[in-house]
Subunit: 143 residues, 2 copies
DNA sequence: CGTTTTAATCGGACTGATTACGATTTAATT
DNA sequence: AATTAAATCGTAATCAGTCCGATTAAAACG
């Protein structure tokens, strides 16, 4: 089942209405498959669907995020988004290729390692990304 | 030697001019000691030094970052900055208390752990922060 | 189906952070 | 003290993101 399908499913389950604007947004994000700057999403969607408003795009990006069907991040001071890649394991981390912007999941190393360094502290959340060249790009670029 | 002193020293060494605006910025960041939203830095400095322009503040934040005397991050979609806390070990990571916003350094767990998960990829950089309550706040708030 | 309800969209104006730039000042050098 | 190039100022512009009242259209229901 495609991620787009799952995303639409989740929208229905939550009582959120499935509008054609939302279908189009999800379809684009699904097709892209990787992180996309929100500004690019906005520009592209508005070029494809004249009359579509900024409001609709930004409002839905937030709604999708809260629903858990979209992940957002920041790269080079730019907000970037992608469809949630693993609905089974919402908590995971990414290796982001700086060449092709494709995303691979990685498992986090044990948090206990850090807890030992911060006696008494209550770690509530964390934030982790790896950047570099994916195997394919590394080979292609000969590095 | 204070961090402000070291920062000024680095400015001189790099050939960057030490203006009173830059001294004031560094002094404020040093006194604060923790991450501060850039917008707050801008508002505060302009209230203390009438005539100071946005341009000067934002330009210098970038210059300081490039010089390696300032670290920037993003929290709640807000750009935040602080003086570099460990000039000896520029590569380190932070635990940021969500209550008092104080920062503690942590050692990174071995990157090899992740390299094993991404055969062929060239990891170039990473990004890691921990959030939660520091020991002091955890006790104070009884959690 | 049609009707109804109300969430979602539209459009356009607005806000707030950040940048651009020509004119002016000033830190550092001699 | 004079020089000069870097830094600052002031103002305007840009750009991402938000707000809001009027309109449209999903979904539910008879």
């Amino acid at each position: 089942m495609s991620q787009a399908r799952i995303a639409i499913e989740k929208m229905k389950q939550s009582g959120m209405r499935v509008t054609k604007q939302r279908r189009a947004l999800v379809a684009y994000l699904d097709k892209s498959g990787r992180f996309v700057p929100v500004t690019q999403l906005d520009r592209y969607m508005r070029s494809q669907y004249p009359g579509l408003s900024h409001d609709t795009i930004y409002r839905n990006v937030k709604a999708f995020e809260q629903l858990g069907i979209l992940e957002s991040d920041v790269e080079n001071e730019q907000a970037i988004v992608k469809l949630q890649c693993d609905f089974q394991h919402p908590h995971h981390h990414h290796f982001i290729c700086t060449n092709c912007h494709r995303v691979q999941e990685v498992k986090m190393c044990p948090l206990e390692y850090f807890e030992d360094q911060l006696p008494g502290a209550k770690i509530a959340s964390h934030n982790f990304e790896l950047y570099g060249l994916c195997a394919e790009c590394a080979q292609k670029l000969g590095r």
